[in-house]
């Protein structure tokens, strides 16, 4: 397999890999590095690529594992990721104004979710994978995925309601 065919295989997936890395690692630089590293890893294992029935799921799965390893390494070094620590008060000032702020806000809420919930939410609600694919990537069973996803969705909604005090019955 030469560079071109490999790049054409990677091309449709690399954005998804980057977004998952960004979701887990939060910092842009860390996510870019992780994406690059993972692509290199897959490139070095290119002889085995044909063995995978669902290459995309395999790539995303490697990305997920790599990012979780990175997080573990950081925790062991007591280097917590401290990016995107937005000031709450400042956000509430422009609260209702722009889409951008709202997105930042959900970003912050999602960042507080447990890693499994982050991954499942990212894969389902943003990348729109079906449950079989998510099961392949996360090695979880479908019912467990549904439960995790449901918790993530509920949590995000509750947090949003808390900050906005919307009058929902």
């Amino acid at each position: 397999m030469n560079h071109h065919t490999f790049l054409s295989l990677i091309d449709p997936v690399q954005d998804k890999m980057y977004r998952l890395a960004l979701r887990l690692l939060i910092s842009k630089e860390a996510a870019e590095d992780a994406t690059q590293e993972v692509i290199l890893k897959i490139w070095n294992r290119k002889s085995k690529i044909k063995d995978y029935a669902n290459l995309e799921a395999f790539m995303i799965s490697i990305t997920k594992n790599y990012c979780l390893d990175q997080l573990k390494a950081k925790k062991n070094n007591n280097l917590r990721i401290t990016h995107n620590n937005y000031d709450n008060k400042e956000l509430s000032v422009h609260r209702q104004t722009e889409l951008h702020d709202e997105i930042q806000q959900i970003e912050r809420i999602v960042a507080t979710l447990p890693e499994q919930q982050k991954i499942v939410f990212q894969l389902r609600d943003i990348e729109e994978y079906d449950y079989n694919e998510i099961a392949e990537i996360t090695k979880m069973k479908e019912p467990a995925i549904r439960v995790t996803l449901s918790r993530a969705r509920k949590k995000i909604k509750e947090e949003l309601l808390k900050t906005h005090h919307y009058g929902i019955k």
Binding site: H3, T35, Q36, R153, I156
Partner: protein, 149 residues
């Protein structure tokens, strides 16, 4: 979409029971319609999902970048070595030529005298040779006797 239907399907969504297709419809609906305030939180979530998908990996993918660089450096190092060695050997050959004394005379007068001496010596050798050939004239003398008379 009826509000009651919306409520039902959102309930399904929250419990992780919607299909990908239904979720896409929800996204499309919330991104293109004004919704009552009770659904405002969902609107935010769905616009977040759609917006998040627009983020792309902007960096160029580099494959096997590191080994390539290694060899490039090796190449540069090798070519520098080759160039250096050429310079070095050229220098040394020049030096050895300079070191050899070829007996070049710098002073013009002395050079003139030396040349003159050398040419004189050559001339003497030549004239010595001619003395040895003197007897050949005897042939001419004898020949003339017969032909002229």
């Amino acid at each position: 979409m009826e509000l009651n239907d919306l409520r039902l399907i959102l309930d399904k969504y929250e419990n992780g029971k919607t299909s990908v297709q239904e979720e896409r419809e929800l996204k499309a609906y919330f991104n293109s319609h004004e919704v009552p305030q009770e659904f405002e939180a969902y609107k935010q979530i769905f616009s977040f999902s759609s917006e998040s998908k627009k983020i792309g990996y902007s960096k160029e993918v580099q494959l096997s970048a590191r080994p390539n660089k290694k060899w490039a450096f090796a190449g540069i190092a090798a070519s520098i070595l080759i160039i250096m060695s050429f310079l070095f050997f050229n220098d040394s050959s020049n030096l050895s030529l300079k070191k050899q004394n070829l007996g070049t005379i710098e002073d013009p007068e002395q050079a003139y005298l030396k040349t003159k001496e050398t040419l004189k010596m050559v001339a003497e050798v030549f004239s010595d040779g001619r003395k040895d050939l003197e007897y050949l004239n005897e042939f001419n003398k004898t020949k003339n006797k017969f032909i002229n008379e």
